[in-house]
């Protein structure tokens, strides 16, 4: 009889909030069970979670991956009503109101694969992208700095599905961020709290006694924020980059090494092209230099080299810098090494050096089409350098914790895969969370989260390994190795099926 009373409660519970009962205090279990009576129960609604700063999902880090995750969760019919907190250290208003100056480009750009683009289309971000400022490329040319052995990938040559009109897109990170934030702002009544300008002071498992409130949330992570608030979350997601505080809180080790190299980035103004739609990469013994198209007059450069050279390249007068970049794509290694040695010599004119060295080197019959466009100028203040690392967390998940993007893994930028891996993490994690919702699971439970790590760990590891091996292989100038790798490049270049598989892998098409 007593059980049927639940039905009555069920009907009226939305209207009333009962006073707190101690049904779940174990001291009272005895009476409850002995007479099989259903005690008056406290009916909680979401206001309890709001009062207590309780969240289903807290994402630390509002970078592209963190924001994309929030956006995908709000976009999904299955997860949109979860209570989400997104905590970002920086003030995002600049990016929210991003109005890029014409013909100026940020030096922070990414290469997005068709798979990542599709993901952004699926979550409604792509429509908010400034399409004037993105550049698809259909062609990749990679060559060996020592032997000039060359491999060329073209999306037209390769039998892939017709949806992929390009191998990848070059896009400014701010453009992506702006699009995601715009999309997030379009959800009027979403359950997401965007806490920007806020840092996480401490993460802990606290002993706050919820017993009087019926609950035992001691295994939910607590976040102490710089604004004085303390949040508790069912699932904590570390999207906080290579020095992830979430990862260190979870006591997850990060495995890998630092390359003895730094990357210099810059925005270059190049000789106007009919169609600037090729990504160029030359492997020098000191590391690869790449030029990526931004539009017909601008390209972006990533040059990974030794730390000493990197800092010199960064501070070189722009006039010399542009000729050094031209030289790095066109001259022989010996000539280039001479120029390196003259970087601090203010008497030498790099322009002249480059001209005459190139004129001797030029062989008849070889045109300009095998080299990237000549650099005419470098955008002011666009040169910057950063260290290069390879990292993979020993695990991506723990009870109530998951790591995504750079918090989980960091890759050498030579294949333009870092952000794409992070977005693949996001896609996978969203699927796993959706599955958890559909099957009524606690979203923080490790059994559920393991689905995410088993989906992503190996594939990230393979990509990290492949890129690391490439870097090591081409960083060698030992003659037999140079010979073998050059042979390899040429053989692969003539094996369309192999080339096709490589490029599909790089494009994220399984």
């Amino acid at each position: 009889m007593s059980l049927t009373r639940i039905n009555l409660f069920n009907q009226t519970k939305q209207k009333f909030r009962y006073t707190t009962s101690l049904l779940f205090n174990i001291r009272h279990l005895a009476t409850v069970t002995q007479d099989h009576n259903i005690k008056k129960r406290d009916v909680f609604n979401n206001s309890f979670m709001i009062d207590k700063n309780l969240y289903d999902i807290a994402i630390i880090g509002g970078g592209i991956t963190g924001n994309a995750l929030a956006c995908a969760l709000v976009n999904s019919q299955k997860t949109k009503s979860r209570r989400i907190a997104l905590i970002e250290f920086n003030n995002m208003s600049n990016i929210r109101e991003w109005k890029p100056p014409h013909l100026q480009f940020s030096n922070r750009v990414s290469s997005l694969t068709p798979r990542s683009i599709q993901f952004f289309k699926d979550i409604g971000v792509w429509e908010n992208i400034n399409h004037e400022r993105i550049r698809p490329y259909k062609d990749i040319q990679v060559w060996d700095g020592i032997s000039d052995a060359r491999i060329r990938f073209n999306s037209d040559d390769i039998s892939i599905n017709k949806n992929a009109e390009a191998i990848a897109w070059i896009i400014e990170n701010n453009n992506i961020q702006h699009a995601i934030l715009t999309k997030l702002a379009q959800y009027k009544d979403s359950n997401i709290d965007f806490l920007e300008n806020t840092s996480v002071k401490r993460i802990m498992f606290d002993d706050v006694n919820y017993e009087n409130e019926q609950f035992d949330l001691s295994d939910w992570p607590s976040l102490e924020l710089s604004n004085g608030k303390v949040l508790k979350t069912r699932l904590l997601i570390g999207a906080d980059g290579i020095n992830s505080v979430v990862r260190s809180f979870a006591n997850i080790e990060s495995l890998g090494w630092d390359y003895n190299a730094r990357a210099v980035v810059a925005t270059l103004q190049v000789e106007p092209q009919v169609e600037n739609a090729t990504a160029w990469q030359r492997f020098l013994p000191t590391g690869p230099i790449a030029m990526l198209p931004l539009n017909n007059r601008f390209s972006s450069m990533v040059w990974s080299t030794t730390p000493t050279l990197a800092s010199k390249i960064c501070t070189l007068p722009s006039n010399n810098f542009i000729h050094l970049v031209n030289a790095a794509f066109r001259l022989r290694i010996a000539d280039l090494e001479y120029l390196y040695s003259q970087l601090e010599n203010s008497d030498i004119e790099f322009a002249k050096e480059f001209e005459w060295r190139q004129s001797i080197e030029k062989k008849p019959g070889i045109g300009n089409e095998i080299f990237p466009p000549l650099v005419l100028d470098v955008q002011e203040k666009s040169r910057a350098e950063f260290p290069l690392k390879m990292r993979n967390a020993e695990s991506y998940v723990k009870e109530r914790i998951a790591l995504i993007g750079d918090a989980a893994h960091t890759i050498h930028p030579l294949a333009g895969q870092g952000l794409n891996q992070g977005l693949a993490d996001v896609q996978s994690l969203v699927k796993v969370i959706e599955h958890g919702v559909v099957t009524g699971q606690d979203l923080g439970n490790i059994q559920l989260l393991k689905n995410y790590s088993s989906d992503r760990y190996l594939s990230n590891l393979i990509m990290l390994g492949a890129v690391d091996k490439l870097h090591k292989l081409f960083g060698n100038d030992f003659a037999p190795i140079v010979f073998m790798r050059s042979l390899g490049l040429q053989v692969i270049n003539n094996l369309e099926p192999v080339k096709s598989e490589i490029i599909k892998y790089a494009m994220g098409i399984e």
Binding site: M1, L3, T4, I6, N7, F9, N10, K13, Q14, F24, I26, R27, L29, A30, T33, Q34, H36, I38, R41, D42, V43, F44, N45, N46, F48, M49, K52, L54, D56, Q77, K78, S81, Q214, F215, D216, L217, D219, R234, E399, H435, V437, V438, T439, G440, Q441, D442, N445, I446, Q447, L448, N451, S454
Partner: protein
């Protein structure tokens, strides 16, 4: 070839679950004692009075002495039971599949109903995307253990009664439920009771859905137990079961290998004679007469069902019929449970673990 390997592991794993279900409180009772308790508890029609006294004694002795150390002990047990690597980890990994199965079966049913334009009490089970598909459904999880299925069903909007004959299990379940406020945020409602199916029937309870998962094989009189469960289902409602089939393969794996040779589970955990083949289970259920429900039960059914009362009376000679039987297995490498692909021969699919749906007329 792959199948036999998979199945082998399934059964080994599965037998572990069985053991754990009975003995997740085995720290206190030896397995023999537990078997005794089980038999008393589920053997109702013959020994109603003795069952009552035994359950009663159990509860009163436990509760009258409850104190701080007891709380600690239960917390410890709860922690163990719910640990992802703990003794019932296979039950945890199986749970999402069970929930998906229930959703899938109900939504299929609902779609059919909608197509025919028939009235039903299940319109609320809408699209698969719906976040609370079980809203307004009253579900009994008989043999709820630590509450792994009950909690999931509540999160999906159901009003769940988790019932278990073991007091420890009920306490474990109650303690664990405190870890998630969303179980109390509605619309789902969660109640745990230390009570047997028979007692519930006696009290005149009825449910839209009765789930008896991984329990029939531990009951000494499965026919009686099934009748009781069936009696708890409202007219038009569903009964969900999961168990192991009785086949040479399951004997070799769960009894011979798991218990006798590899000793993965204690000797005597399983009684091969208690396993039921799908066709036997089907026969039992479809032969249940509808007369074990007296009028008092029908009165309790709410108004929606009263509309259908005439339909119910027309078909009242039989309790109902089986609407689906699905074989499941666990991948020994990933530890994930799956439904067998359709191309796997039916006989192999149903050789070990299977899920079953029955619908009451």
């Amino acid at each position: 070839m792959g199948h036999s390997t998979t199945l082998g592991t399934i059964i080994r794993f599965n037998s572990k679950i069985k053991r754990d279900i009975i003995t997740n409180v085995s720290k206190i009772y030896t397995s023999k004692q537990i078997r005794n308790i089980n038999s008393t508890i589920f053997n109702l029609h013959q020994n109603l009075s003795s069952t009552e006294s035994s359950t009663h004694n159990l509860s009163s002795s436990q509760y009258s002495t409850i104190n701080e150390p007891e709380i600690l002990k239960f917390s410890q047990l709860a922690k163990e039971w719910w640990s992802p690597n703990g003794p019932v980890k296979l039950l945890h990994s199986m749970n999402p599949l069970r929930v998906s199965y229930i959703r899938q079966q109900l939504s299929k049913y609902n779609k059919e109903k909608l197509k025919k334009g028939q009235e039903s009490g299940y319109e609320t089970i809408s699209a698969y995307d719906d976040q609370i598909p079980f809203k307004d459904l009253r579900i009994l999880d008989i043999g709820c253990g630590g509450g792994v299925l009950s909690e999931s069903l509540v999160r999906l909007g159901a009003s769940v009664v988790g019932a278990d004959a073991s007091l420890e299990n009920v306490q474990i379940a109650r303690l664990h439920a405190r870890k998630d406020p969303s179980l109390y945020s509605g619309p789902g409602i969660l109640e745990y009771e230390c009570i047997t199916a028979e007692k519930l029937l006696e009290k005149g309870e009825s449910f839209d859905i009765v789930c008896a998962m991984e329990i029939i094989e531990h009951v000494n009189h499965p026919v009686e137990f099934l009748k009781t469960c069936a009696g708890l289902v409202k007219p038009g409602g569903h009964l969900f079961l999961s168990t192991i089939s009785r086949t040479p393969l399951s004997y070799i794996l769960t009894i011979l290998l798991a218990e006798r040779i590899f000793r993965i589970v204690p000797n005597g955990t399983h009684d091969f004679n208690n396993y039921l083949r799908p066709n036997e289970l089907q026969q039992i259920i479809e032969q249940i007469p509808n007369n074990n429900v007296d009028n008092s039960n029908i009165d309790m059914v709410n108004s929606t069902e009263k509309v259908n009362k005439s339909v119910y009376k027309r078909k009242s000679s039989e309790w109902g019929h089986i609407t689906n039987i699905t074989g499941i297995g666990v991948n020994p490498i990933t530890g994930k449970w799956f439904e067998f692909n359709h191309w796997v021969p039916r006989r192999i699919q149903l050789d070990v673990n299977y899920l079953l749906t029955a619908k009451r007329n």
